[in-house]
Symmetry: C2
Subunit: 680 residues, 2 copies
């Protein structure tokens, strides 16, 4: 071993901020220097306990560090006193007391975050015709008599079958969930021989009684959940009316094991014994959401009888307790792709013990059940128009086609669109710049920050900005910044910041051989670096090349509609996305964000079993294109590095707004290399 290092790396989650600090730095100071908000009201004396944090242990390949709770040193006296007095959890530390002694990944628990991430998922307004696979059947049984000594459970099964009507059942048979057997006699007698059974009947499996209440019961609920890498969104729906009665979201707590999908896969690869932790963590978060949703409407957890889940393949596998490592490398083999029928209790979900779970099918190794759900919601296959459906994330999921033919692919965009790998980037949270405009003449920026209604040049902004601070730039902000810089001539079509413009504005600053554009300098410096533009170019080129490949397969350049799904899609301005060449040319009014289409698809599958058959058929029929196998990907990718594109004319866009004249690049724009899927 060489001598002990003098500095250590620290990554704060869920914000993802990171820095290098001298050994011995108090953790709270490190957090503050990075703009990570950790509450503290006692002045760092170890009294208030608000600054609690938790170390995520293990080897983190992406960060190239091994985090250990021991790297926070021993407890101070104050900390030990607080722990014993207030019963602080064993895995928590007070960040005002703990000192950095080695590399760390530190989770700021949700309960300690006041400037927590904005969970931008809500139930879209779409109305869904209910046809639940759960039905409530109230029956009254005759009292048992000795002449016909049949089990109460069997008489119940038959009464329920007769009430439903044998012709409504796929076979003349109805089963009963074994966990109910010890309850049946009690419930029948409690209800004076009248009980309500929840009957599950979906597809080919025999119908089954999965829950039972004495007397009459009229309302039961179902849950539609979209497990995103960053956020989990859940909707509680009345299974009879189809109405969404409550929605809630939360950060995906797995973030402390890795910010993006592939870092989590690599975390499991390097710390295989920790797989159950990732699974437990996400299930606990969902259980907390279930509790909240039920409380919202005054329901019991046991009133929840059904659930539909969507998520990308890695989230899907981790939720099921499946090791996702195969998804981390070619051939990206899914452990399971078809739709699954499970029981809530198999997944430790705190709902009715008889609750059913429907996992929507995954399309391919990088095109998950979330993409399948979005496809169900947007139904590109039911129209003659050619629709492009894009869900932008670490991997963009792309579906293209119409009634005749549907194609799907994913493209490795990386996390740049989510503000990661961007020097001033951060996730969408209060303090993040989400919109930006640059004056064409003065080259001065004005911007809007999440958490404040006013733009930076409007009255009131200055007085309020101290509440949240300007902490970074999020995905939609970076898109607009690059597009605006291009539109006002600060960068060329090849994405190079033009050093000549430094003569026109002091905001263009030389940094080594390249230049940067400074947006804000109060507190934390926020600037767009040449490397940031490269990261955006690489991401958008990957996405665009994927779309082009699908267009090649479909044999047409025509696109009638573009649907941008996901939180990101809802917040980016379609015209800026097109200026950037992130999406292909198309009539501008044909482009729209469709919000949480995956969540909508999950609700459809929850509420109507016909939609389950529909999404299963769509996923079976859809043509899966593996972009990595296509020889033309590289050519499309290189052309797509330019703004908006080296070869594609973007006629609709040019008709709608004036783009800068095409010029020769002022220097070496670099040869973009073929990107590989992110595997750290």
């Amino acid at each position: 071993m060489s001598e002990a290092p003098q500095t250590a790396k620290v990554v704060f989650q869920p914000s993802g901020r990171r820095g290098t600090f001298p050994i011995g730095t108090p953790l709270l100071d490190a957090a503050r220097s990075l703009g990570v908000y950790v509450e503290s009201v006692c002045g760092g004396r170890g009294i208030c306990g608000r600054c609690q944090v938790q170390v995520s242990e293990g080897a983190f390949a992406k960060e190239a560090l091994t985090s250990s709770a021991e790297h926070l040193g021993d407890e101070s006296e104050a900390e030990a006193r607080y722990r014993s007095l207030r019963n602080m959890r064993a895995d928590r530390r007070l960040s005002c007391q703990a000192k950095i002694l080695g590399d760390l990944v530190v989770d700021v628990p949700t309960d300690a975050q006041t400037n927590r991430q904005v969970v931008r998922k809500r139930a879209e307004a779409k109305a869904i015709t209910p046809k639940s696979s759960i039905s409530l059947v109230t029956v009254t049984l005759a009292e048992p008599d000795m002449e016909t000594p049949r089990g109460d459970a069997d008489r119940l099964r038959e009464a329920v079958r007769d009430k439903i009507g044998r012709d409504q059942l796929s076979n003349d048979f109805i089963t009963i969930d074994p966990f109910l057997l010890p309850e049946i006699q009690k419930l029948l007698r409690q209800g004076k021989w009248c009980v309500t059974a929840a009957v599950h009947h979906d597809g080919d499996a025999p119908a089954s009684i999965v829950a039972l209440w004495p007397g009459e019961k009229t309302t039961v609920y179902g849950l539609a959940v979209d497990i995103g890498s960053t956020t989990i969104a859940a909707h509680l729906c009345d299974l009879a009316t189809g109405r969404t009665v409550s929605s809630a979201g939360t950060s995906n707590p797995q973030i402390r094991f890795g910010e993006d999908l592939m870092s989590r896969v690599s975390y499991v690869q390097m710390n295989p014994a920790r797989l159950p932790d990732l699974t437990r963590t996400v299930r606990e978060a969902i259980n907390a959401l279930i509790g909240k949703l039920a409380a919202d409407v005054g329901a019991e957890r046991t009133d929840i009888l059904d659930a539909a889940f969507v998520g990308n393949p890695v989230m899907h596998h981790l939720f099921l307790g499946i090791d996702p490592v195969e998804l981390g490398g070619a051939p990206f083999a899914l452990a399971v792709s078809d739709a699954l029928h499970l029981k809530g209790r198999d997944l430790d979900l705190e709902m009715n013990p008889g609750a059913q779970i429907y996992m929507l099918p995954c399309i391919a190794g990088h095109v998950g059940a979330d993409a399948a759900a979005a496809t169900l919601a947007e139904a590109p296959g039911s129209s003659d128009e050619i629709t492009l459906l894009v869900d932008v994330g670490t991997n963009a999921e792309i579906v293209l086609g119409n009634r005749e033919r549907l194609l799907a692919a994913s493209s490795p965009t990386g996390p740049a669109f989510e503000g990661a790998e961007i020097s001033s980037g951060q996730r969408a949270a209060p303090g993040a710049i989400e919109r930006i405009r640059i004056d064409r003449n003065t080259l001065e920026p004005r911007y809007k920050v999440i958490g404040l209604d006013e733009w930076s040049d409007e009255e009131g902004f200055a007085g309020k900005i101290d509440q949240v601070g300007v902490t970074g730039i999020c995905g939609s902000g970076i898109i607009e910044a690059v597009a605006e810089m291009f539109l006002c001539g600060l960068i060329t079509e090849d994405g190079v910041i033009d050093g000549a413009t430094a003569a026109r504005t002091p905001r263009i600053v030389a940094t080594g051989r390249t230049f940067s554009y400074s947006i804000a300098t109060d507190g934390i410096e926020i600037a767009i670096q040449q490397t940031d533009i490269r990261a955006i170019q690489l991401a958008k080129a990957a996405l665009y090349a994927g779309v082009k490949l699908l267009q090649d397969k479909l044999g047409t350049n025509r696109i009638d509609r573009i649907r941008l799904a996901g939180a990101f899609g809802s917040y980016i301005d379609p015209s800026y996305a097109m200026v950037l060449g992130l999406i292909p040319d198309c009539p501008l009014d044909g482009v729209s964000g469709v919000g949480n289409a995956a969540g909508t698809g999950a609700r459809m599958a929850l509420l109507n079993s016909d939609h389950r058959r529909e999404v299963e058929k769509t996923v079976r029929d859809i043509e899966k294109i593996e972009t990595a196998l296509e020889p033309k990907f590289q050519e499309h990718f290189v052309n797509a590095m330019a703004l908006p594109n080296k070869v594609d004319p973007f006629e609709h866009l040019r008709a709608a707004m004036s783009l800068p004249e095409r010029r020769e690049p002022p220097g070496d724009s670099g040869t973009p290399r073929r990107r590989r899927r992110r595997q750290s």
Copy 2:
């Protein structure tokens, strides 16, 4: 409260011996005075630890006592030392140290019993054509490729389906047990894409992959279990060949909660919170048997993929965790009667986690899955001959009929046939008199004791009897004793011990207004009391009246064959049973014991799914007669109190042996009252 009692009642299980002792009596002394064998090699100094016992707590209605661990007082110093040194279980006490301070039910754990009950259940020789609902299918999958991104689990399901042949499946669909999902990719890669799947396919439910091994696997096992109130017998069978590879039995540890069925029901009724204990206890005993059977053949627990269970309704319900109280009173409503398909893990059984459980159907509230299994094994419904199938226990289960019509009933015989409620009675265990002959002239008895080959008048008996002692008389012994006493004129046809015979032998002794016959006086006095004969008369009359009712329903007195099932049936001499009028008249060579017919039926259902459909159909079709509802029961019962019967001629019997002349009773024979089902 009145002043503290000076004596306390103690019941030892599993022997069922009981007595009343002065407060302060050492428990070991009490055991010895009752002939309950508790090992002790250290002379009662609390050193050897062999005399460990366990208190069964709760209210015991039948014994009219409330047992508590506190009634053994505080630990002695020696006991505390032994506990800490040897890590004695918290619920165990040393009986040499513990003193009786109050009423107690004490369990002598199996590991401490040397003269434990003889478990007389073994697999009968019957060969069974195998057609298991579990099949092993070895498939080799192509490696995953990016062009067809399908989940490994789904490709496996399809390969297995294609290998079996779609036409062999009830629908074009095969599911996979969710617990396998996290294992599939590992196992496929471990087996280099070759794996063996265990496929469960039984009845209407879709076929399902329930277990998986890398590479080839050729042998898996199934378990057939007969859960009796007294003993549990289990057989391990090769599912492919149908061969029984190992058998084992154990006492049913529930005995410490009540000796017979109805005392256990009443225990649960009075101590409802203890229901899980009864369930856990029997499952643990079965898990121990599974371990033993697997070890016998060098197999793993995970090699056991299927199991069939039979038991009377109370055992059936307790095993499933169902409160049996409804079975304790009219209308004796079963919670569930139809056959059940469950998973081993639902019942905490330690087998392969994907193992299937088949519970045979129950016929009625007192005619259980054991009777259904015996009916399957003996197939009375497949012959033109009229068969009477009787399984004698606390309730005799009776099936009568032939190809055209089958009837079933139970009769409340009570536990007299098992040696309970008999003054010198005990269960079949070493030291119990199991056979007896009385000289027609001298009226001297000679007898055979379990554990010794010699009869009491043979050479060698005297030298060996000290090893086991003569401790009581078991079920087959009491039958023979009463029959012999009748045949040699010691009792009248009305069952009264004839006091006049006291002139001929000193063994007839007046005890109050009645007489008794003394069999042995060395050590414990063993005698047949008038009350013992009454108990046998009541039991046999109940059984006979039940048979008569079924004969009435069937409209014939003809019986071609009698099959006596169960341990008891194997050990009683048919001619003595007929002399007693326990079974109806029939050609003597038509009567035979069929051993553990319920166990045979369980094996048939385990090994061949056609037999499952068969037993389900039989149970559906069989006519259930509730003897309690039949007006003629009383008349048949009164007639059956006489030996062999007041009205029935017993022509076959009289042709085979000479019965005593019919005489008038010497005194009041008592009017037998209609017996109620034993419900304490």
